[in-house]
């Protein structure tokens, strides 16, 4: 289960990470970090849907719903974001 979730986490978060880095350069480090835990998730979700939508069936057949995948990914990124914000303050 862990490796499956990790694969989804990696695939979705790389879009999020790329977008957040751009925001970080354009607006500032804090904005980039906040984006990674919030709006960047939406960008990641939409990018995954656009480029890899059919791969959801990989997870569905293994018993993982879209909601389960997204919620865990979001919780992890929100946590990383919060920790980073605390560290850079």
């Amino acid at each position: 289960m862990f490796s499956m979730r990790l694969k989804y986490y990696y695939d979705l978060s790389r879009y999020n990470f790329g977008f957040s880095v751009i925001i970080g350069f354009l607006i500032g480090l804090n904005a980039g970090v906040i984006t990674f835990g919030t709006f960047g998730m939406l960008v990641g979700f939409l990018s995954y849907k656009y480029f890899q939508n059919n791969q959801y069936y990989f997870y569905y057949n293994l018993g993982l719903s879209k909601m389960a995948l997204i919620s865990v990914t979001w919780i992890i990124n929100l946590t990383i974001s919060a920790i980073f914000l605390l560290l850079i303050r």
């Binding site: 791969q55 959801y56 569905y60 719903s65």
Partner: protein, 224 residues
């Protein structure tokens, strides 16, 4: 033997009533062929049964118990081969197998397949379509799910792999109920125990090419 009993499935997209009177059964040990012209609702029906699309009205049972497809993914009753490939393209075949099956014994059952042994170190994106489709079907066929839904398992695949997939499906049907749909009707008819045609939103039982021709799915000349 588990039996999937589809009593009613109704689905419309706006004013287009795709499925209106769907009724058939599939039990473990049987392969059911599902035919229908493009847009007749075959894939829609499979997605509804798998739980990724909601029906407007539905009455499905497994044996005598009501079955709610929207809970199918978490309950793992029905597995589904989508029309397009679902495997992550950037991984090696070996990695895909080890993600799909955590248990070493289950992994070995896949690795020991001679067709898989020769591609296990390849990246998924480099596989031929036949190799890819065979791998996908093999992966979902070894899951614990009682039923398999296969959307176009033979389309665009070289004959050798079509035969391999047919052999695989026949070999697993003792443990699974299989519903498959494909326009390659000749291949489908070779392995099915029962065949259903969806026409005007309704199911019609058919037996052979002549029935398919009489119901307007193939031309009369192809039925001879």
């Amino acid at each position: 033997m588990d039996k999937l009993i589809i009593n009613t499935v109704v689905k419309a997209f706006g004013s287009n009533h795709v499925l209106s009177d769907i009724e058939f059964e599939c039990q473990i040990g049987k392969i059911i062929g599902l035919f229908g012209r493009n847009g007749s609702g075959k894939s829609t029906l499979l997605k509804i049964l798998f739980g990724t699309l909601k029906a407007d009205a539905i009455d499905v049972k497994i044996n005598s118990k009501s079955f709610d497809p929207t809970k199918n993914i978490s309950n793992r009753v029905i597995a589904y081969l989508a029309q397009d490939s679902f495997l992550p393209k950037d991984l090696k075949v070996r990695s895909v197998i080890s993600i799909f099956y955590q248990d070493g014994e289950q992994q070995n059952r896949i690795f020991y397949d001679p067709r898989i042994a020769k591609i296990e170190n390849q990246i998924v994106s480099t596989l031929s379509y036949g190799e890819l489709r065979y791998l996908e079907i093999l992966l979902i066929s070894r899951l614990s799910h009682s039923f398999l839904l296969l959307d176009e398992p033979f389309s665009m695949i070289e004959p050798l792999y079509q035969d391999a997939i047919k052999d695989l499906l026949v070999s697993i049907k003792k443990d699974k109920g299989i519903i498959l749909t494909d326009h390659y009707y000749f291949d489908v008819l070779q392995i099915t125990d029962k065949n259903i045609l969806i026409k005007d939103g309704k199911t019609i039982e058919v037996e052979n090419k002549q029935d398919l021709a009489e119901n307007g799915y193939i031309s009369i000349s192809k039925a001879i």
